[in-house]
């Protein structure tokens, strides 16, 4: 099995805090989206909220598994054997990857403005089967994420062109940072610094999204 990530020891706790922040911000987008759905009854808001719910859940799983591993590491692996420890970590990361991809696929489907369940199912199946059957799941996941994020970026670029305001630019740069972070994560299987850089770009992305949320609700 190919390696997923190289994580520097000094960054492990910080990365968990980052992941909790990502879960909270994406959770807030989902809550607001469901609130707008309740007000407008437009189904695209429900789907958009669902997409962000999947992404938020993926970060929750990622942070929980890392918290568990951190606890086991500090306990000098007394409870689990090394193989069990590695398998559990990998299983958690796979769940994170599957939920994150489902979330991104859902967001992409929402922006397509297509009213066809078949298209949604095809996008989901291709993505999930691609990851599950891949030998290097981490690499495939990052490539697929980057493709989905690139398409979302095109969507937000068209919004910037249309609205011509700073508020639209915030969301565009947020998704640009998210795309950059996932492209950087592709290399984190060989160099741990890429894992750190990926997290920093991801943090920038979610701070920008948080800023945009603040403007919406203020």
């Amino acid at each position: 099995m190919a390696s997923l990530y190289y994580i520097p020891n000094w960054f492990f706790t910080t990365s968990i805090i980052f992941e909790i922040i990502f879960a909270v911000v994406t959770g807030l987008v989902a809550v607001l989206s469901f609130k707008v759905y309740n007000l407008s009854r437009q189904k695209e808001f429900r789907l958009f909220g669902l997409g962000f719910t999947f992404i938020s859940l993926s970060y929750i799983i990622w942070s929980l598994i890392n918290l568990f591993l951190l606890d086991q590491l500090s306990d000098a692996l007394k409870v689990l054997s090394f193989n069990e420890f590695v398998s559990l970590g990998a299983l958690g990361i796979y769940f994170y990857m599957l939920l994150f991809i489902v979330g991104l696929a859902t967001l992409n489907y929402t922006t397509l403005k297509e009213n066809s369940k078949s298209i949604y199912i095809i996008i989901l199946l291709i993505s999930l089967v691609g990851i599950i059957t891949s030998f290097n799941k981490g690499f495939t996941f990052q490539i697929l994420s980057s493709i989905f994020l690139a398409f979302l970026l095109i969507h937000f670029a068209s919004q910037v062109k249309r609205n011509k305001n700073v508020k639209s630019l915030l969301v565009f740069f947020a998704f640009l940072s998210l795309l950059v972070s996932h492209v950087i994560f592709i290399f984190s299987t060989s160099q741990y610094m890429y894992y750190v850089m990926g997290h920093i770009f991801e943090l920038v992305a979610y701070i920008l999204i948080l800023a945009r949320l603040y403007i919406i609700i203020k």
């Binding site: 437009q42 919004q159 508020k167 919406i216």
Partner: protein, 91 residues
């Protein structure tokens, strides 16, 4: 020249027209005030009824429409809906 209204704006305009008439209005008035074709207006009214934003009543003089609590809530929170829609390009 005004820019083309999106769906959410049209819904707000129809609800405001009904609301401005003390919550009860005939379809001809909605047609006149909302600046839509007859077919489009019928489609929107059908959708608004299914979403429980308005209620259709029938009497001897014909159909009238009144706004519901959900419809009022939509008008009140429209700026939030519009901001969120614009942010993520969900129109």
């Amino acid at each position: 020249m005004n820019k083309k209204r999106n769906k959410l704006e049209i819904i707000r305009d129809i609800l405001q027209v009904i609301n401005n008439r003390n919550g009860k209005i005939k379809p001809t008035h909605i047609l006149y005030k909302s600046n839509l074709s007859h077919q489009m207006m019928e489609e929107y009214l059908k959708e608004l009824i299914s979403k429980e934003f308005i209620i259709e009543s029938r009497n001897k003089t014909g159909k009238t429409y009144s706004i519901t609590e959900k419809g009022h809530e939509y008008i009140k929170k429209y700026s939030l809906i519009a901001e969120f829609t614009e942010s993520f390009g969900l129109e």
